[in-house]
């Protein structure tokens, strides 16, 4: 064999090897992308199971410990109608795990999420099945659920989840501190809130904060832009679906109010020092529960924490104060909640829908869940059920829920990117790092719009 022939042979072998490698890699890559697209979600309602059908429904939720037991018991009520259906409830499964199970082609039959942040993304990419065919088939009247709650469980008209229970964010105040400061009623607008905060705040001899009337910095407990925004009439997206924070007077009013309070306390640094000495949000050392905060905005679930962790605390609740110029909005506030859905590729979609109906529309189940989890039951009928035992302080949240003035976060395909952008800005703003509020908000708009555009092209 000549040298030339050998070289040609070697080159051929190498060529073949390269071609094989390239083919194998292409195959691997294609195989991977193929695996990422599970089947399911045909657009038609799957048939309801027969009364005696024997099957097991898998449910993923993030509930743990005591709450897990409450939800498991409620899920078990399906047995009354379908005695042979077992429900396997897997707790401590967060949104990431739900997504992974869907893309891995092995999703649960029912997915429960604590947050509505990912709903837009799940709806738009088909992770959750469209529930419209089921709702139409079973002639479900969605008007029994308030508008705001219906809004945070759908994306661009596509209903891909149902509300299981709702969270409503109200105003908490310490009754003893109010009495000591000569305050007889909770503030209804931001001017009154500012004056009350001044009266209720106590400073140490060295100028540091001893008790704060109302802490304005973000992020801190439920102090996040999304929980405050409805009280200032601030909106995330314009009619064109794009972010227009810089043009919205509500956002400017909110940030200016925040800055005014920070200046009253003597600056951001002093508040950070005080904040760092308060306990964690869900610990017994929570600042409000320890008498270090006189007022705060928080969800209805705080009533359960106070009952459990600080039973002697004398507190009351009210709707959050609103910006003076939108006094008509008083009585409403921010709402979000737990959502429940059928993931793409669910093996028992028909039975899953029966379970969802049980968990979201059955008054007895909702009342039992609300009593156990201390959340707001999501249908209008369950709000007035005599079996509802949630305490006097909870009434505020039930009234707010029925007020027609609740505001949810908008469902977007970008997860919580818009919320992170606004909260990042709030942090920088309150620390004095933004010289021009409007220009700063324009940058936030750019950031959010870039993320929104990303869903149109790229990544």
């Amino acid at each position: 064999m000549s040298r030339t022939t050998r070289i040609a042979g070697t080159a051929r072998k190498r060529g073949t090897l390269l071609a094989c490698t390239a083919a194998a890699l292409a195959l691997l890559t294609t195989a991977c992308s193929g695996a990422a697209a599970p089947s399911g979600g045909t657009g038609q309602a799957a048939a309801a199971p027969g009364k005696d059908d024997k099957l097991t429904l898998t449910v993923y939720s993030k509930f743990t410990s005591r709450e897990y037991e409450v939800v498991t018991k409620a899920l078990g009520k399906l047995k009354a109608k379908y005695p042979n259906i077992e429900v396997k409830h897997e707790g401590n499964q967060d949104d990431d795990k739900i997504t992974q199970s869907i893309r891995g082609g092995n999703p649960p039959d029912v997915a429960i999420s604590f947050y509505t942040d990912n709903l837009g993304a799940w709806c738009s990419n088909g992770s959750f099945q469209d529930l419209k065919p089921y709702i139409e088939r079973d002639k479900i009247d969605l008007n029994q659920i308030p508008d705001a709650v219906r809004s945070y469980t759908e994306y661009q008209g596509k209903r891909c989840a149902m509300p299981m229970l709702s969270d409503v964010y109200g105003f908490y105040y310490n009754k003893d501190m109010f009495a000591a400061a000569g305050l007889s009623a909770p503030p209804k607008n931001t001017t009154e809130l500012f004056e009350a905060a001044k009266k209720l705040t106590q400073f140490n001899p060295d100028g540091s904060i001893k008790v704060a009337g109302f802490i304005p910095t973000m992020p801190f407990y439920a102090n996040m832009a999304q929980y405050w925004a409805p009280n200032f009439g601030a909106k995330y997206l314009g009619q064109d679906g794009k972010s227009h924070l810089a043009e919205d007077p509500g956002w400017k009013a909110m940030f200016e109010f925040q800055k005014k309070l920070i200046d009253f306390y003597g600056g951001h640094q002093k508040l950070e020092q005080f904040k760092s000495g308060l306990g964690d949000e869900y610990s017994a050392d929570h600042g409000f529960q320890r008498g270090k905060l006189a007022m705060m905005i928080d969800g209805e679930y705080r009533t359960a924490f106070i009952k459990d962790q600080a039973p002697d605390l004398k507190f009351a609740t009210a709707p959050p104060p609103v910006l003076d110029s939108i006094a008509g909005q008083y009585g409403g506030g921010f709402t979000t909640g737990t959502i429940i859905a059928i993931p793409k590729g669910a093996k028992n979609a028909g039975a899953a829908w029966e379970l969802i109906k049980q968990m979201t529309l059955d008054t007895d189940t909702l009342v039992e869940l609300a009593n156990g989890l201390k959340n707001v039951p999501s249908t209008k009928a369950s709000l007035t059920d005599p079996k509802l035992k949630l305490g006097d302080e909870f009434k505020t949240f039930l009234d707010m829920y029925d007020s027609g003035k609740l505001v949810p976060n908008p469902s977007t395909p970008i997860g919580d990117a818009h919320l992170k952008a606004v909260n990042d800005f709030a942090e920088k703003w309150q620390a004095g790092g933004v010289p021009d509020l409007t220009e700063g908000l324009k940058k936030v708009d750019q950031q959010v719009n870039d993320e929104l555009a990303q869903k149109g092209s790229g990544g």
């Binding site: 743990t64 997504t99 893309r103 992020p219 996040m224 950070e272 904040k275 869900y282 990303q454 990544g459």
Partner: protein, 330 residues
């Protein structure tokens, strides 16, 4: 004829020899391939495939659920033009690469040097210094957030006793990364043990010879210790750079714990606090990929991270080899 016969004889006897040798070589090659097959397969499956897949996804729009859609260089263009937070994330990681690498190697070398000189209790001290590296990162970070709590943390209490205002640590954007660096130093026991082994491996005769030549402790360290342990130090530097480039858990836990926004189940609602000073490049990559479902963009970020990591390693190894050659030449 004789010549012809002899040539024939030689030819006929050499042919089986060559064939046998070829068969032996083939057998040898098969044996070698068999032995390296598990490692090669592992490399292909756990490194080769993910790398190729990541490069492929970086040119696609991919939401983790639907099939990827080819978009050319869109993700890379976005990375360098419109996306605002990637610059902040890259800066934070670069800060950690520079400061953490220098501090980690210097700290490990310092501690190892002290231990190597101890006359008694070496085992105990060595164990105590190594133990923190076994602590789970999330638990260690939570402990550090408590220790450095501005109001009631033991560190600031002690500092107040001696008249120093300790600052806000994890609650201050200017101090959060130095606090994370302290945490990384506390957990650098593994590197310390590796350097200690290298220090103990330096031939004693070289120190004695240098001492006889009148070299003091600094010159002995500079001319005997450092050249002897330089390969290990190079490993330490490369290891620390990669460690800093992949800094994730500690950053995410510290940010959420210090801001008090971790929820009941331990998940964080707020990443990067305070003021995105703990938003590292891998954290942002995770957020883009798994929270915003921009896996194509996240893959592009991962490719860039890979290129930078490989680049750092390549430059360092080259410089090290060059300096070694120069030393050998001298």
């Amino acid at each position: 004829m004789t010549a012809t016969l002899s040539a024939h004889t030689t030819g006929s006897s050499s042919a089986p020899v060559t064939a046998r040798a070829r068969a032996r070589r083939a057998r040898h090659r098969r044996t070698v391939l068999l032995f390296i097959a598990p490692a090669s397969l592992g490399f292909l499956i756990f490194f080769g495939y993910p790398l190729i897949a990541t490069i492929y996804y970086s040119f696609t729009k991919y939401d983790l659920i639907n099939p990827p859609e080819f978009v050319g260089f869109d993700n890379y263009i976005r990375m360098f033009t419109s996306e605002q937070l990637i610059g902040k994330a890259a800066y934070n990681t670069l800060w950690l690469v520079v400061v953490l690498t220098v501090c980690r190697v210097a700290f490990s070398l310092g501690v190892a040097s002290v231990i190597s000189r101890l006359k008694s209790g070496v085992g105990l001290v060595r164990t105590l210094c190594y133990l923190p590296s076994l602590a789970p990162p999330a638990a260690a970070t939570l402990a550090f957030v408590f220790l450095f709590n501005p109001e009631f943390g033991p560190v600031n209490r002690f500092l107040r006793l001696v008249g120093i205002d300790g600052g806000l640590w994890f609650n201050d954007p200017a101090m959060s990364k130095p606090a994370l660096t302290l945490l990384a130093l506390w957990g650098s026991g593994e590197l310390m043990i590796i350097i200690l082994a290298a220090l103990l491996d330096v031939p004693q005769e070289q120190y004695e010879a240098a001492e006889l030549d009148g070299a003091g402790p600094i010159r002995r360290f500079w001319h005997v210790t450092l050249p002897s342990i330089s390969p290990v130090l190079l490993f330490g530097v490369v290891n620390s750079i990669i460690y800093a480039l992949q800094f994730f858990t500690q950053a995410i836990v510290a940010g959420s714990a210090a801001s008090g926004t971790a929820d009941v189940a331990g998940n964080t609602k707020f990443i990067g606090a305070p003021q995105n000073s703990t938003l590292t490049y891998p954290v942002w990559l995770y957020v883009q990929g798994f929270r915003y479902f921009n896996m194509g963009y996240a893959a592009a970020m991962a490719v860039l991270l890979f290129i930078v990591s490989a680049g750092f390693t390549w430059v360092l190894v080259r410089r090290f080899r060059k300096s070694q050659h120069q030393e050998e030449g001298a």
